[in-house]
């Protein structure tokens, strides 16, 4: 027996999974990835972890998008199937934000650290869901998120608080 009510799961998660995908890829690629992710979820619904369903689905979507990018790198045959290939490169969502200082600070993080921040702040994922999405343990996720936020705080600290040389004129 399936461990989840699939339609209920779909209704509860689809908006955020779609928002995540469209933040990470062109609209067409995102929609393809979401469709693939739910097809996988349907086939493997017994494996969807309880209480981290959204994270699992976003993790699947993330991997589908990564696979699409991987296949795009391959020259030759896959390009010949162009009509059936991802249409545009996926943007980094952090690259689109208007707050220049924050954008610079985010882009200075490693991609995984950036994702750790974005998944919770923009997509309202719990730590358990975000850990599931990134394929790490909750403890590893908490460490990564804390480190990323610590680096962001440092990067965003006003320069007036930085140490300055003290000239002793005596």
């Amino acid at each position: 027996m399936p461990s989840v009510d699939f339609e209920e799961l779909y209704r509860a998660t689809y908006p955020r999974v779609l928002a995540y995908a469209r933040s990470m890829a062109s609209r067409e690629d995102a929609d393809d990835a979401v469709a693939e992710a739910y097809a996988i979820a349907w086939r493997r619904q017994r494996d969807i972890p309880h209480s981290a369903e959204l994270g699992w689905l976003i993790g699947v979507t993330r991997r589908v998008l990564a696979n699409a990018r991987r296949s795009r790198r391959r020259a030759g045959a896959l390009h010949a199937l162009l009509d059936l290939q991802p249409r545009a490169p996926g943007p980094d969502p952090a690259d689109r934000i208007a707050d220049d200082e924050l954008r610079t600070a985010l882009m200075a993080l490693s991609p995984l650290d950036r994702e750790a921040v974005v998944l919770t702040a923009w997509f309202d994922l719990s730590s358990a869901d975000a850990a599931q999405a990134l394929g790490v343990t909750p403890a590893a996720f908490r460490m990564r998120a804390a480190r990323a936020r610590r680096r962001l705080r440092v990067a965003l600290t006003p320069t007036t608080t930085k140490e300055r040389p003290q000239w002793n004129t005596m």
């Binding site: 908006p15 996988i40 162009l82 059936l84 969502p93 934000i97 707050d99």
Partner: protein
């Protein structure tokens, strides 16, 4: 540990959320839900496997299912043929705990490129890829191997032992444990292992954009042709799979128009190997234990450029 939404950084992060990252809570695609629910639910794979499971087994079942369920090959328009096509996809999923080994030869005009890869069925990102063309080289993760000089270039940003070595260590641990656990680990989403072209065919079949033709003899082998539907908006290309064991045999693509040269891909090897060989097959250090390892980033970049290696 959840984050305090009143925290200054949190407020600033949330305020910066791009428009497309905001979920439309009313978003609902009923058609997608219906299409998804139309597919069969996979049986759970629970048996740890430390031995190779021949692809041929699944494929033989597949070919049988095509005939039994569908009454023979056909379009996806009818439910029985749709079931048949679904059954043909089974062999594209290598069993958990195994290594997929594929060798393909791609020919476009006068240019031939041979690709060979060994891929963890449970973690498709864990793979070693060998490319033979104008230059021959291997990649695994961020590492690059130049067979001409028997040198591995691995200048990772990660821990000092290197990603490649870490992967080898993990693979070794799996071997020591007698194979992989059947229970999913975080991040194990059973994602799309396999040759990228073959994987694409799988997704097109699932989307109902391909059709299985009548059984025929292709280059002396009994085969099923699987073709793009004519209404797909481009010249039809075809993948032949062996009727005996379901392995991909050949793909022929005429090109989108006269400006494109036809392409042919052949798969001399498409097999499943025991997961216990992961340490030797998936990493460069495992496959080439005697190779010199260079960790200098500049040397690694120069080697990548010289060999024309894609960035992994």
């Amino acid at each position: 540990m959840e984050h305090d939404v009143n925290d200054d950084l949190e407020v600033r992060l949330r305020a910066a959320r791009p428009h497309m990252a905001r979920a439309d809570e009313n978003a609902f695609d009923a058609d997608l839900l219906a299409r998804v629910r139309d597919q069969p639910i996979a049986a759970r794979r629970t048996v740890p496997r430390a031995v190779a499971v021949p692809v041929a087994v699944g494929v033989t079942l597949t070919a049988t299912a095509v005939v039994m369920l569908g009454g023979g090959p056909g379009d996806v328009g009818g439910p029985s043929s749709a079931s048949a096509i679904t059954e043909t996809l089974r062999w594209l999923n290598p069993p958990s705990g195994t290594i997929l080994h594929v060798r393909s030869v791609e020919t476009t005009g006068a240019q031939t490129t041979t690709r060979e890869f060994w891929q963890d069925a449970d973690d498709p990102d864990s793979e070693r890829l060998r490319t033979e063309g104008a230059h021959t080289f291997e990649t695994s993760g961020q590492a690059l191997y130049d067979p001409a000089t028997d040198t591995i270039y691995d200048a990772p940003a990660g821990p000092p032992t290197g990603r490649d070595a870490a992967k080898a260590k993990r693979a070794g641990a799996k071997v020591a444990a007698g194979g992989k656990p059947a229970i999913s680990k975080p991040g194990d989403h059973a994602m799309l292992p396999g040759d990228l072209v073959v994987s694409k065919v799988r997704s097109l079949l699932q989307e109902g954009r391909m059709v299985v033709g009548g059984r025929e003899v292709h280059d002396g082998t009994d085969a099923w042709p699987v073709s793009l539907k004519p209404e797909a908006g481009r010249p039809v290309w075809t993948l032949w799979v062996s009727a005996a064991d379901g392995k991909p045999l050949e793909l022929r693509d005429p090109g989108r128009d006269a400006s494109e040269q036809p392409q042919v891909i052949r798969w001399p090897t498409y097999e499943v190997l025991p997961g216990s060989d992961a340490g030797r097959l998936l990493t460069l250090t495992g496959a080439h234990p005697s190779a010199q390892v260079v960790r200098d980033a500049a040397e690694a970049a120069a080697a990548g450029e010289r060999l024309g290696a894609e960035k992994p």
